[in-house]
């Protein structure tokens, strides 16, 4: 059946209900000409629409999402017990097969008789279910329409009801953010726990070799799930990035907020912010094609062996990426330092740089630390630059001139390509992701709290 039919029916129903509500309010108004209507006619229309179309929609969605979980057990009961597989995955596959038979989609091979019988029963149940759903939808819609038609009086508080609904809908939308966080935590936790049923947590968190071979289940390969080489690579690159971004970003912020004239500021700020709008894949390509060979040649000149794809390359380019982030956050924070502190220092004869170094920066320090922490959290979670430019060599090293690998690179490596989502080689990506999420969460929360405290201090 065409899946567009239901939405179209619901839309028509909604339009019809709106008209019913509108008309009934006009009728009520003409019946009692000297009574003020509580709500305007359009609100009565909206109310009727909510009363009729919303329950119908809910009924349809319930059927859509839970219909199969009601029908599947009923079908399974009728199947010969010997044929019903034990595992839930196999059972799901069987139900999908029966569903394909039932809808006439067909299956690749010849289906045995018991499957044909089961699918026939399933098709029957589905057709009953659909009929019941349609009947229910029609009933609730009719009840809603009828209520609106009969109960519309000048006193009906249609506006308040509609507005209450709007408020609840708005609240639900803001709850999506909470649901997303919950989704992230639960899904990753679920898969990570699954992973830890293959690999001991201690082996993962304290293991020093990272070598997750595919398609082997022997015990020897399982020693290769150590997080530490990846973590060291991640932190090394983040450190280099912050060494580049902190001085450049901070000085840019100081210059634009304290020294630059309005004209210069209005040119410099957008130019630096252009850096923030560049996709990370572009930075990765830039690192690979321009910065890497440049650093390599530079190293050769001074007698150092710097690989073209190394922690240094990735770190430097990541630092460039974070500059606008640090500078625009610090800029906001520096401009929030009260004018009086600045003026006081200048009045006492301090030069501008003394004022900045001894008064403004110390006063802004908590905020700046917060900004830098957010920068670190960015650096840790950045993916494309390191995928392209870090060299993908998971070894435990502190040498920035060597190729390394990071947590994010390994997530990408483990989850791209065709493999089974249930193998530890894939599941480890979720354990890595959870580690990454927790790390950035801690950094973000600390940074947000620090910045917020700082803002409150000067408000």
């Amino acid at each position: 059946m065409n899946s567009l039919i239901i939405p179209v029916i619901l839309l028509i129903l909604a339009g019809f209900a709106y008209q019913v509500g509108l008309r009934s309010s006009l009728k009520a108004a003409s019946k009692a000409p000297d009574v003020y209507m509580h709500s305007r006619p359009s609100y009565h229309g909206w109310l009727a629409m909510l009363r009729a179309a919303l329950p119908a929609l809910v009924v349809y969605l319930l059927w859509h999402f839970f219909g199969s979980s009601i029908i599947n057990p009923m079908v399974i009961e009728t199947l010969p017990a010997a044929q019903v597989p034990e595992g839930s995955l196999e059972r799901d596959a069987l139900m999908q097969r029966l569903l394909n038979l039932a809808t006439g989609f067909g299956v690749a091979d010849e289906a045995p008789d018991w499957q044909v019988a089961g699918s026939a029963y399933m098709a029957q149940l589905y057709s009953y279910g659909r009929t019941i759903t349609f009947a229910l939808m029609a009933t609730v819609a009719a009840i809603g329409l009828f209520t609106s038609w009969r109960n519309t009086t000048p006193q009906t508080r249609a506006r308040n009801k509609v507005e209450r609904f709007i408020t609840i809908a708005l609240f639900a939308c803001s709850g999506v953010a909470v649901l997303t966080t919950l989704g992230i935590v639960l899904s990753m936790l679920g898969e990570a726990i699954n992973f830890f049923s293959y690999i001991k947590p201690a082996d993962f968190f304290f293991g020093t070799t990272w070598n997750p071979r595919f398609a082997t289940t022997d015990t020897e390969s399982q020693s290769g799930f150590g997080l530490l080489p990846l973590l060291s690579g991640t932190l090394l690159i983040a450190l280099i990035a912050m060494l580049v971004a902190t001085p450049l970003g901070l000085m840019t912020a100081v210059f634009t907020s304290e020294y630059a004239s309005d004209r210069v500021r209005s040119i410099v700020k957008p130019l630096v912010e252009v850096l923030a709008g560049i996709p990370t894949i572009v930075y990765g390509f830039f690192a690979l094609v321009t910065i890497g060979p440049f650093l390599n040649a530079l190293g050769a000149m001074v007698g150092l062996e710097i690989r073209a794809t190394s922690a240094l390359t990735a770190g430097v380019v990541m630092g460039i990426m974070i500059i606008p982030f640090v500078s625009s956050l610090s800029d906001d924070i520096i401009t929030q330092v009260p004018r009086a502190m600045r003026d006081g220092s200048l009045a006492l004869g301090g030069t501008k740089s003394e004022t900045i170094l001894k008064i403004i920066l110390p006063a802004a320090l908590p905020g700046i630390v917060g900004a830098l922490l957010l920068g670190v959290s960015r650096a840790i979670g950045e993916t494309m630059i390191v995928v392209l430019a870090a060299g993908n060599r998971p070894v435990l090293t502190a040498n920035p001139f060597e190729a390394v690998s990071t947590v994010t690179v390994s997530i990408v490596n483990q989850l791209t390509g065709d493999q089974d989502f249930a193998s530890p080689q894939s599941l480890v990506a979720f354990a890595l992701g959870l580690t990454l999420f927790v790390m950035t969460l801690v950094l973000n929360v600390i940074a947000l709290v620090v910045v917020r405290r700082y803002r409150e201090q000067y408000e």
Binding site: R159, E163, I166, T167, L170, F171, C173, S174, A177, V178, T180, G183, I184, S187, M188, L248, G249, T252, F255, T256, A260, P270, V272, V274, L275, G277, P279, T280, I281, V282, G284, F285, F286, V289, I320, T351, K352, S353, E354, L374, S377, R378, I380, G381, E382, T383, M384, V387, L388, I411, L415, T416, F421, F430, L436, F437, T440, N444, V445, L448
Partner: protein
Amino acid sequence: MNNATRPNSGLDGFASNEERTQHIASTLKRRRSKETRFRFMGILAVALSIGLVGILFGSILAKGIPSFWQATFVLDVDFSPELVKLESPKPVKEPNESPARYEERVNEWANQLNFINWNKLLLESVAKVLPESTENPRAVLEMFASSTRFDLRNMVIENPDIIGKTERLDLVASANVDVWIKGNIDRSLPDNQQQISADARKWADQLYAEGVIENMFSTVLFTNSDSRSSPATAGLLGAFVGSLMMMVVVILLAVPVGVAAAVYLEEFAPQNKFTDFIEVNINNLAAVPSIVFGLLGASVFIIMLNLPMSAPVVGGLVLSLMTLPTVIIATRASLKAIPPSIREGALALGASRVQAITDHVLPLARPGILTATIIGVAQALGETAPLLLIGMSAFVANVPSTPLDPSTALPVQIFLWNGNELRNFFEGRTSAAIIVLLVLMLTLNSLAIWLRKKFEIRW
């Protein structure tokens, strides 16, 4: 200016005013030069940051712009009836025939064209301008993009009347010829390291000098999808359409939900723990690494809900979740900028809170909401990492026709081309694709800035 070695006669350690003035005067020079140094450092930081933007754009433009032009043969191709033999004329559409049936008949008819030796056509047309080329037909065929044969065939299918005529056609040369002519490969390399034979190299130079091979604007870059067998004609169309579909999903999902959430938090939310919790959630989500959203998508949409991999609709869902906090934060900022007097005025005249917002606040915030939308879309457009995890890095040769078809996206296409083994050719192609992406992003961003400037209301 405390100095412990001085006799502690005055409050600040100076015996007299003169001594103090003298001391200050003597340190002035040092302090002023320090000031100059500090200022210089600020300018240096800004110059470096902007210089890096310049280098990034410069290097990508230098590599990418030449790739918009591509070595192309301009040849007279003779569709001689001896070579292109048709046994039956192209079927004519009958008046009451369905389009599908007609298409089937045309396909059936076109099958006979598959057995025609299209290479022969190419060889003959090259022989006309280069008689000695008949000695080494393999070298001639090496010079053409491998899809040229299908292009010729499609031309005949499109218009069978072409048979017997001679047409002047632009035929894309193979990637290796393009690399050779542009000098993107070391011309002095020995034969066994060159990618095309000595004859093909000699003839390519000769034909280029004669003007038979021209550097023409590469339309295939915009009209074709990715191609493995014929790298010279690989284009961006499929990726562009995929990105476009995802942007539509983001605009349909992230924007309404984000605006609704922002309105709730800014206008309705009571000051309590739960509101605080939602706010912390949103701020944290804005700083969660994008790859974590990819993991969420892989685990919820792909594993749990069994949605198809590589589909733009799934990519759009993931990107919507990712951009939601950005949209919320930007919309809240624009709502905050509207002075309370607007709301109070509406409320004082008897409007309800919902009415005050829908009739007064939201219309005034429209430019701000538009800016928030554009920022969100631009962020989603440039994102790569989460898309890799939901399978969008698979090779897709077709333009997706529905949001459920496998597809790729612009940044992912850049990633894929960057990894292509044919580096000499694809480094330029990748840069060209980056330029296309950057042009789109910068257009979006400057549109946002322009809108902000144009509609900015100073209260």
